[in-house]
C-alpha cells in the first residue's frame, strides 16, 4: 500500500493522533529535563482543565475563541490558501464590535446591540482579509506575506486607535471604556450554575453553530463544492466553470469574518472593553487547531477544547510548578503545528507498511 492510498480512518484519525502524541512526547521530554514529572504535570492539567467544572468552564471559554480563529484558517485552507492573518483580522474585528457597542450601549438594549456588534465584528474582519485576498487573486501577491504584513499593520493601527482615540481620560488600563450592560454577553453560568464563576458565554453556542454551518457549507452547498474543487484540483475546478478568482476573494472575506467574530468572546463576554493586544496569539493558536483538526468540524472542536484545556490547565499548573510557566504551552502549540501541519505524513510510510503486512496473510 502506498502512503498516498491510506484509508480515510488512517489519515483522519490515526496519523493526527500519532502526530499529537509526538508533540506531547517532545514536550514531556522538555518538562522532564526541567526537573518535573511529565505524568504528574499531565495529571494536574487534566484535572484542572477538564475534570473540575469551573476549570472546564474556562477551558470552553478559551476554546470558543479558538474555534472561530480555526474556522477562519480552515475555510481558507480548503482552497489551498494559508491565511495567517487571523490575528490581525480578529483585532480589527474587535474594533468593529467595539464601535457598535460604544456608540449604542447607552440607548439600546442587548437584543439590538449584541447581534449588531457580532455582525460588525464579522464585517470588519472580512474587510481586513478582503484586501490580501484581492491582491492574491488579481495581482498574484503571495497571501502569506500580505497577511503577515496586515497583522503588523493592524497591531499599529489598533494601537493608535485604542491609545489615542478610545481610551477614556485618566484611565490607566490601555483599553476603551467599559461596555455598558447591554454590551455584555450573557454567561452560561446563568443556566448552568455548576460552571461557577467562569466567563464562558453564549458565544460558545455561536461557535458550535458556526462549526455546523461550516460543515454544511463545505459538504452540502454548491459554493462549498467549488471551494473544495479549487483546493483539490484547480485545473478541474476551472474545467468545472468555477471562477477561481471569485472563490479566492470570497473565501478570504468569509475567513476574515470568522476570525473577526473571535473577538466577541473575550471582549464582550469577559473583559467588557476593547483592550490593547487582546488577541494574545489566538490567531496563531487557530492555525494549530485547524491543522490538528485537519479542517474537520469535529476535529477542530476537539482540538480547540484541547488547546483551551492547555491554556487553562497550564495556568493552574504554572501556579503549582514554577518551572512550568504558561509559556510552556506556547511551546507545545508550536510543536503541534510542526508535527500536525508540516510533518503530517511523518508516520504515513510506517503505517502503510504495517497495513500491508497485516493484509498479507489474508491473500493466501
Amino acid at each position: 500500500m502506498n502512503p498516498q492510498d491510506l484509508p480515510r480512518w488512517a489519515t483522519s484519525l490515526l496519523l493526527p493522533i500519532l502526530n499529537l502524541l509526538s508533540a506531547l512526547l517532545v514536550a514531556g521530554l522538555v518538562i522532564y529535563a526541567l526537573g518535573e514529572s511529565p505524568l504528574e504535570s499531565l495529571g494536574i492539567l487534566v484535572n484542572s482543565a477538564f475534570l473540575n467544572p469551573e476549570g472546564l468552564g474556562y477551558t470552553l471559554f478559551y476554546a470558543t475563541t479558538f474555534i472561530f480563529t480555526a474556522l477562519g484558517v480552515a475555510f481558507a485552507l480548503h482552497t489551498g490558501l494559508f491565511n495567517i492573518g487571523g490575528e490581525g483580522q480578529m483585532y480589527v474585528g474587535g474594533l468593529g464590535m467595539a464601535l457598535v457597542v460604544l456608540n449604542m450601549d447607552a440607548h439600546w438594549g442587548p437584543w439590538v446591540v449584541i447581534p449588531l456588534a457580532i455582525a460588525c465584528s464579522a464585517l470588519f474582519g472580512a474587510a481586513w482579509a478582503f484586501l490580501p485576498g484581492y491582491l492574491q487573486a488579481r495581482r498574484g501577491s503571495h497571501i502569506v506575506v500580505t497577511t503577515i504584513m496586515f497583522n503588523f499593520i493592524a497591531a499599529s493601527l489598533m494601537n493608535y486607535v485604542i491609545v489615542s482615540l478610545l481610551i477614556p481620560v485618566g484611565q490607566q488600563t490601555t483599553a476603551s471604556r467599559q461596555f455598558a450592560a447591554s454590551g455584555w454577553l450573557p454567561r452560561l453560568n446563568e443556566w448552568l450554575p455548576v460552571l461557577g464563576q467562569t466567563p464562558v458565554n453564549i458565544s460558545f453556542l455561536l461557535a458550535l453553530a458556526a462549526l455546523a454551518v461550516y460543515a454544511l457549507v463545505m459538504r452540502r452547498t454548491t459554493w462549498g463544492y467549488g471551494i473544495r474543487a479549487v483546493g483539490l484540483n484547480p485545473h478541474a475546478a476551472h474545467y468545472a466553470g468555477v471562477s477561481i478568482k471569485g472563490v479566492v476573494i470570497g473565501v478570504m472575506a468569509v475567513s476574515g469574518a470568522l476570525a473577526g467574530m473571535a473577538a466577541v468572546n473575550s471582549e464582550m463576554g469577559s473583559a467588557h472593553q476593547l483592550g490593547l493586544n487582546f488577541t494574545a496569539g489566538a490567531g496563531y493558536i487557530g492555525i494549530a487547531v485547524a491543522l490538528m483538526g485537519r479542517n474537520h468540524p469535529i476535529g477542530m472542536l476537539l482540538s480547540a477544547v484541547l488547546f483551551g484545556g492547555l491554556i487553562q490547565g497550564g495556568f493552574d499548573l504554572s501556579l503549582e510548578k514554577s518551572n512550568i510557566p504558561p509559556e510552556t504551552f506556547v511551546f507545545i502549540q508550536g510543536l503541534v503545528i510542526l508535527f500536525c501541519g508540516a510533518m503530517e505524513n511523518l508516520y504515513a510510510p510506517a503505517v502503510a507498511g504495517l497495513l500491508r503486512k497485516m493484509k498479507k496473510p489474508s491473500t493466501a
Binding site: F82, G140, V144, I148, M149, S156, V330, G334, I337, L338
Partner: protein, 321 residues
C-alpha cells in the same frame, strides 16, 4: 523642530540596522535556494536567548556569539529536515518553529535565571567598541567630526561586520560557484539536477549559512543592543527582514537598503514620539511604525516595483526521473 535630531536618528539607524541586515541576508540564502523561511523570527529569538545566557554564564561575548550561532543553525537544520526530507509545508514549518521557540526560550530563561523569563544583564560580557583612529582628534570639525566619531566610528565590531556582510553576500551569490548553484537550485531545480547538482545538499548548505547569519542577528540583538534576553525580544524583526527581502527582490544590496529604510523608520518613530510637527501635529508613533509594512504591501501589489521571487520557491523538489 529642534527636538528632533536627525543626527541621532541616523546613529540609531546604524545601530538598529544590523539585526535586520544579518537576518535578511540569512533569509536571502535560504530563499534563493528555494526554501521559504518564515522562521527568521524564531532563529533571531533562539540565538538571542542562547547568546545572552552563555555570554552571562561565561562573561565572554564571543562564546555567547558562538552559542547563538549554534542554536540558530540547529533551528535551520530542523527546518531543512522538514522541508527537504519530509517535503512538508514550508510556511507551516517556519511558523511552527517561531511559536515553539517563543515558548521554549521563555521557559528556559525562567528555569535558568528565575527572573521572570529574562536573563541577567551583561555588564562586562559585551563587545568592545571600535573607534576610528584619529576620530578624537577631529572631534571639533563640524560634520566630519560627527561623521567619524558617531556615525562611522564608535560602534561594536558586529555593526561593521553587518555592513561588510552586504557586499560579501553579494559577491558570494553572484561570483562564486556556490552562489551560482544556489541560484540555479532556487530558480530551476530540475535544470540544476540535470546538470549534476545535488539539490537537497545545496539547500541544506544554504539554510546553514542562513543559520549562521541569523545567529549573528540574534546575538547582536541580545548582547550588543539590549544587554540581556527578554521574552519575545525579536519583536517582529524577523518579519521585517522578510519584508526587506521582498522589498529588495531578494538581492543583497537592495535588501540592505530596505533594512536601512526600516531601521530609519523605527528610529524616527522613537524620536517623533510626543513631538509636535509643523503641519500635522503630533504623529503617533504607531502610525509611523506601520510605514515599512504598508510599503511592502504596496510593492507586493506590484504598484511600486515588481518583486521577483526565486522561481521555484516553496515547492518541494521531487526528482522527475
Amino acid at each position: 523642530m529642534d527636538s528632533i535630531q536627525l543626527s541621532s536618528i541616523l546613529v540609531a539607524m546604524v545601530r538598529g540596522a544590523p539585526v535586520l541586515l544579518f537576518a535578511a541576508l540569512g533569509g536571502l540564502f535560504a530563499e534563493r535556494s528555494g526554501i521559504v523561511d518564515l522562521g527568521l523570527e524564531g532563529k533571531i529569538l533562539g540565538s538571542a536567548f542562547a547568546s545572552a545566557s552563555v555570554a552571562y554564564a561565561t562573561q565572554n561575548p564571543w562564546l555567547g556569539l558562538l552559542a547563538g550561532i549554534a542554536v540558530s543553525c540547529m533551528l535551520a537544520l530542523l527546518h531543512g529536515y522538514v522541508c527537504i526530507q519530509q517535503r512538508g509545508n514550508q510556511l507551516v514549518s517556519g511558523m511552527a518553529i517561531n511559536i515553539a521557540v517563543s515558548g521554549l526560550t521563555f521557559v528556559l530563561a525562567q528555569f535558568f535565571f528565575q527572573q521572570g523569563g529574562r536573563s541577567p544583564s551583561l555588564d562586562e560580557g559585551r563587545f568592545a567598541v571600535l573607534n576610528i583612529p584619529g576620530a578624537q582628534a577631529l572631534a571639533d570639525v563640524p560634520g566630519l567630526g560627527w561623521l567619524l566619531r558617531e556615525l562611522l566610528g564608535g560602534h561594536t565590531i558586529l555593526v561593521y561586520l553587518a555592513f561588510l556582510a552586504v557586499p560579501l553576500v553579494h559577491w558570494v551569490v553572484n561570483h562564486t560557484r556556490f552562489g551560482l548553484r544556489l541560484r540555479a537550485v532556487g530558480d530551476n531545480p530540475h535544470a540544476a539536477d540535470t546538470a549534476g547538482i545535488h539539490v537537497g545538499r545545496t539547500r541544506y548548505l544554504a539554510l546553514l549559512v542562513g543559520g549562521v547569519l541569523c545567529g549573528l542577528s540574534g546575538s547582536y540583538l541580545a548582547i550588543v543592543q539590549t544587554g540581556f534576553f527578554l521574552r519575545d525580544m525579536s519583536a517582529g524583526n524577523g518579519f521585517l527582514a522578510l519584508a526587506a527581502l521582498v522589498f529588495g527582490s531578494w538581492r543583497a544590496t537592495h535588501t540592505a537598503i530596505g533594512c536601512l529604510m526600516f531601521a530609519f523608520f523605527t528610529s524616527l518613530q522613537i524620536q517623533l514620539e510626543g513631538v509636535a510637527l509643523p503641519v500635522v501635529g503630533k504623529v503617533p508613533g504607531s502610525l509611523i511604525q506601520m510605514i515599512p509594512y504598508v510599503v511592502t504591501v504596496i510593492i507586493l501589489a506590484g504598484f511600486m516595483a515588481k518583486s521577483i521571487a526565486p522561481k521555484a520557491i516553496g515547492v518541494p523538489f521531487v526528482k522527475s526521473r
